[in-house]
């Protein structure tokens, strides 16, 4: 055999090529021979960290505990336009829920699934623990478990003979004196071990060591505080770090803290400052657009996404959001352009073809509709995706008037995803047309219990009950529909009609 490479160089090379598993094994071998080799030790910590690393500035999901037991909340009912929490019963900027479906919290659905776009804040504890808690969409109890648990367990499984570093036996004060070791150790504790308390201790010692001059440690302190739910302390650390060093990251962290404290307007001000220092910075622009979107301010969200695209014309989130916005504002042909752009960029998945199919259908490009859906079906990774494709095919079938096919499609949606409330609702409407009142009632009841935020099952139930003469149930259902979508004209007319019924002798 040829020359053996120097093991450390070999490990370093593995690390550069992102072969972390091999890198960590090589380092382990070095450490077996030379237990006090700091370089190898540091490299191994970095490799282990990189394996589970998630960008902290990415949006994270709010857990049940944070939402229901929010101790930072001052007022139960915030002033309009200053909180992310109130969405239901609000005026919509842009298309109404009759055109653009809404999420559980009453916000229009986004074109890009982020952790916080899925379900919003539930109203009651029961809703919080009940609603879509499946393996793919479960809401964690707290954000400190959630994603970190799922990532952390991977590393737990790969180390059968215990962890690499035993945190409880570590003398943190020693490490602090070696800043390079301390930083890798911190990242290891924070990301790999997911132990915010020890990480905080280390960061605190390190800041003290550096005479409170090192902005990096301040940011890390802030991250630890954030992870522990001490938002005010985190805010203080980030602000202090900002006075020393202008970094895009710090602005994003600070904005994240404010969003968690439900102060979207302050977050927007922070991002504005960030944009003054770093004009046209894409990640900040994206963050601003997300806040606007969450506050139901679709038109300005789209503006910011367009700004993002001017800087970075391959930003998937921006393309998808603008595309979906065009789709729901009655311009499917433009949405089609945006989705095609995604396709050209190499995004090749079920969801995209699903959207392309819908756009083709509404833009009257009939020759491409069904091919897109076929492609989507073959690309579907799980049953949920299959269900969505069948659901859209059901819409196409309704559109071309083939109700039999539509019925089969919605049934297939349900057999793939048992909790598809929209499909239940549509199936009920088809049953209503066949005069199968009892079945329609049962389906609508199921639909409304699965998705109480949707107004459609309520209003359909109201019309059905009114038709068979059950005015009381009809009125109750109409009231629920009006609560979910106050501006719905048919509901208002029905309520008016029922009131007249009740008033007449």
């Amino acid at each position: 055999m040829g020359l053996e490479t120097e093991p450390l160089l070999q490990a370093w090379s593995y690390f550069r090529r992102r072969k972390f598993e091999l890198c960590s094994q090589t380092c382990s071998r070095i450490l077996e021979q030379e237990p006090y080799d700091q370089v190898a030790w540091s490299l191994k910590t970095r490799a282990l960290t990189e394996m589970v690393y998630v960008d902290e500035i990415d949006v994270d999901q709010e857990g049940i505990a944070e939402m229901m037991l929010d101790e930072n909340a001052i007022a139960q009912v915030a002033r309009p336009g200053t909180s992310l929490k109130q969405a239901v019963g609000k005026k919509f900027d842009g298309p109404s829920p009759a055109v653009r479906p809404v999420t559980q919290s009453g916000r229009p659905i986004s074109g890009f699934v982020r952790p916080s776009t899925q379900s919003g804040r539930p109203g009651t504890m029961e809703q919080a623990i009940k609603t879509p808690r499946t393996a793919s969409t479960a809401r964690p109890i707290t954000s400190t478990s959630g994603r970190y648990v799922r990532l952390g367990t991977a590393s737990m499984l790969t180390n059968p003979d215990g962890p690499f570093i035993n945190l409880s036996r570590l003398n943190l004060a020693n490490y602090v004196q070696h800043p390079y070791l301390a930083k890798t150790l911190f990242e290891y504790i924070f990301h790999h071990e997911n132990d915010a308390k020890n990480a905080l201790e280390l960061a605190a010692l390190a800041t003290e060591e550096s005479n409170f001059k090192d902005w990096w440690w301040k940011v890390q302190l802030g991250k630890c505080y954030y992870r522990l739910g001490l938002y005010r302390e985190a805010e203080k650390q980030f602000k202090s770090a900002l006075t020393q060093q202008n970094m895009v990251d710090i602005f994003l962290y600070l904005g994240k803290v404010y969003i968690r404290m439900d102060q979207p307007l302050t977050a927007l001000t922070v991002f504005k400052q960030g944009l003054d220092r770093f004009p046209k910075e894409v990640s900040i622009l994206c963050a601003v657009a997300r806040i606007h979107e969450e506050m139901n301010n679709m038109s300005s969200a789209t503006e910011y996404y367009k700004e993002v695209l001017k800087q970075d014309n391959t930003n998937i989130e921006a393309i998808a959001c603008i595309g979906s916005n065009h789709f729901y504002t009655d311009q499917p042909e433009i949405a089609l352009r945006f989705y095609r752009r995604l396709l050209q960029m190499g995004v090749y998945n079920c969801q995209l073809f699903n959207n392309l199919g819908m756009c083709c259908f509404y833009a009257q490009q009939y020759d491409m509709i069904l091919t897109s859906f076929e492609r989507a079906l073959s690309l579907a990774e799980n049953e949920g995706d299959v269900a969505e494709v069948w659901y859209n095919l059901g819409h196409v079938a309704v559109g071309i008037g083939d109700l039999n096919l539509a019925y089969q499609c919605f049934k297939l949606t349900l057999s793939n995803n048992n909790d598809h409330a929209e499909a239940y609702n549509n199936l009920a409407v088809l049953e209503m047309r066949k005069n199968h009142v009892e079945q329609a009632r049962a389906l609508l009841q199921t639909s409304s219990s699965l998705a109480p935020h949707m107004y459609e099952p309520h209003v359909n139930f109201a019309f059905l009950s009114e038709k068979i003469g059950d005015l009381q149930s009809s009125y109750v259902a109409a009231q629920k529909s009006a609560a979910a979508f106050p501006d719905h004209v048919e509901t208002q007319q029905l309520i008016e009609k029922l009131r007249q019924h009740f008033a007449v002798i």
Binding site: A135, V149, A363, E383, E438
Partner: protein, 588 residues
């Protein structure tokens, strides 16, 4: 934000026509407009407010008298008050008015706030059969059970309705009957009606301080006019329904008109010397307020509308209100000769209407249920409002207040000027339509072919799903069922709730079983097998079980639920439950 709203409310105050005199949100007054009266009880020019308080449910009914902002006295009442009126009984000096309180079948008359006289409505004819039955019970010839049966048969057939005693007896439980019969059988059987509304009518002079007769309407659908001194019945009129609201004008000896709103939705107008109603207004909804303004009658209905009628029963106008009417009352500013009607609405506003024109709106902190306008204390134009929550609000009309009379709805409706937001068609769209026009045939063919293939693949998938009964909705006509499952909890213990519903019209489902398919290394289900009870059509049957996650690896799996028919191995329904990750264990 807050400062601007404050200043605007202060501005509103200075522009408002009303002064806030007193507000007590916890005055504990549960009353209606008909039970509030203002009167100079001691003849000293200081007007007091007399309120018949309905208390809480059947307790604590009281007659309360307020002077200024304080309560002066209260007398207990035996039954719910239905009307309170202050009236002059005689010509004696000093001219202090008496108070009449209608309550049950009695009118209690108070003078100087002391009980003075009790008038009882004349007893009504008792059903002969009923009397006979009770006579037998008195002599212990029949036991309570037979008594009950006989009374029930009388109730169903007889033309003359049963007395209150019999009706109460029929409501009792079996063990209470004996005691009830023993307590009451010795007393003579009487049938009495109750007073539903009360008003006053000047005897023979139109003066402010003239002697008044009382006009009362009863549950038996009759109207009585009582002599103020001797309390004899002067006039008795039968109506075709039960009167609920009264308005009286004129003088008894000369000419008078009584406007009565009845429970059948009709308003009758009676005149002197007519034994039956002169005019009748038929409304499509229940009357909830009746006020006479000069010569017109304003009627508020449960339909959220306010109608104006002439005194001959012709409709003049109709106004639609923003909310349901709670109560109505007359506003009469004698110094200016202004008459208008106050309407308390359910959206916490009190509207003031002169004819069909809205003059002013008062916002109140609670829903107003009682309204009374008149002289209170030494102030001429005082508005007294009682609220649903038991609050008392007193406002004084400013002497400088001017009511502008203008028609509120001139010109075309505002909807006409709003432009519709019609989206423009993009150039892209036009290009696409061009393409469509050029390649119409080819596009159609491709689409049709794809459609056939889709139909085929959909049918295949559908049949596959049907064969395996994968859907949570059963499609067979024999057992139409739906199943929906929900998981609650955060682990390791989860609660699984299965909602099973029979959607057939009238066929109950029997002999169904539920079983589960799951990875036994991951989950424990206890119990994992159910016998489903008989499913009544249309009802939702929640079936609960507990799932325990045995793994601490933070992984999750699908649990399949099958609904089976006894003796058959193919399931009727299948539901897939995507279990959440067990966090209870992982976090600990």
């Amino acid at each position: 934000m807050s400062s601007s709203s404050d200043s605007s409310s202060r501005e509103g105050e200075s522009r408002s026509k009303w002064l806030d005199a007193h507000y007590d949100p916890v005055a504990g007054l549960n009353t209606l407009s008909s039970c509030i009266a203002l009167a100079d009880l001691h003849g000293d020019g200081d007007f007091k407010m007399v309120v018949g308080d309905m208390g809480h449910g059947p307790y604590n009914m009281k007659l309360k008298v307020y002077k200024g902002t304080a309560r002066m006295s209260e007398n207990a009442l035996l039954d719910l008050p239905t009307g309170v009126a202050a009236f002059l009984m005689d010509q004696n000096e000093p001219r202090t008015p008496a108070i009449a309180v209608a309550s049950g079948p009695f009118i209690y008359v108070y003078k100087n706030l002391r009980p003075y006289f009790k008038f009882t409505l004349p007893a009504m004819e008792v059903n002969a059969l009923e009397k006979e039955v009770w006579d037998q019970a008195k002599e212990d010839k029949i036991d309570p059970v037979t008594l009950k049966e006989m009374l029930e048969s009388i109730r169903d057939k007889a033309e003359i309705p049963l007395s209150v005693r019999s009706l109460r007896f029929l409501m009792l439980e079996l063990q209470e009957m004996e005691a009830f019969v023993n307590t009451y059988k010795q007393q003579p059987l009487k049938r009495q009606t109750v007073i539903t509304c009360m008003g006053t009518l000047k005897k023979n002079m139109a003066d402010e301080d003239a002697v008044c007769c009382l006009v009362i309407g009863t549950e038996s659908g009759e109207l009585f006019i009582l002599d103020p001194e001797a309390f004899t019945i002067l006039t008795r009129v039968s109506l075709s329904s039960v009167p609920t609201l009264l308005d009286v004008t004129g003088q008894y000896d000369i000419e008078y008109r009584i406007t009565v709103a009845c429970r059948n939705g009709n308003v009758y107008i009676l005149r002197r010397d007519s034994k039956r109603p002169k005019y009748c207004i038929e409304l499509s909804a229940q009357v909830v307020g009746l006020v006479r303004v000069q010569k017109n009658i304003m009627i508020g209905t449960s339909h959220e509308t306010l109608h104006g009628y002439s005194q001959k029963g012709k409709r003049l106008w109709t106004v639609t209100l923003p909310a349901s009417i709670m109560t109505m009352s007359l506003l009469e500013q004698k110094s200016r000769g202004i008459q208008a009607v106050l309407v308390g609405l359910k959206n916490m506003e009190v509207h003031l209407y002169r004819d069909k024109n809205l003059l002013s709106v008062i916002n109140t902190p609670d829903i107003v249920t009682g309204l009374c306008f008149g002289r209170y204390g030494r102030e001429d134009d005082t508005l007294i409002m009682t609220t649903q929550g038991g609050g008392l609000l007193i406002k004084i009309l400013k002497r400088t207040a001017q009511f502008e009379d203008k028609d509120t709805a001139p010109g075309p409706p505002t909807g006409q000027s709003i432009k519709l937001n019609v989206p423009k068609k993009t150039k892209l769209y036009v290009d696409q339509t061009l393409r469509e026009r050029e390649n119409a045939v080819a596009m159609h063919r491709v689409f049709q072919m794809d459609l056939y293939r889709l139909r085929l693949s959909a049918a295949r998938a559908y049949v596959k799903a049907l064969d395996a009964s994968l859907a949570p909705v059963s499609s067979t006509m024999q057992e139409p069922l739906t199943l929906n499952a929900a998981v609650q909890g955060i682990g390791p213990q989860f609660k699984l709730i299965l909602n099973l519903q029979n959607t057939s019209v009238n066929r109950p489902s029997m002999q169904l079983l539920i079983s589960f398919l799951y990875d036994e290394k991951l989950y424990k289900i206890k119990p994992a097998f159910f016998k489903v009870p008989l499913l009544v059509p249309g009802l939702n049957y929640p079936i609960e079980t507990f799932v325990e996650c045995c793994s601490d690896k933070g992984i999750s799996d699908i649990i399949k639920v099958f609904v089976l028919r006894e003796g058959k191995s193919t399931p009727l329904l299948t539901a897939h439950i995507n279990m959440p990750v067990s966090e209870g264990l992982a976090a600990a």
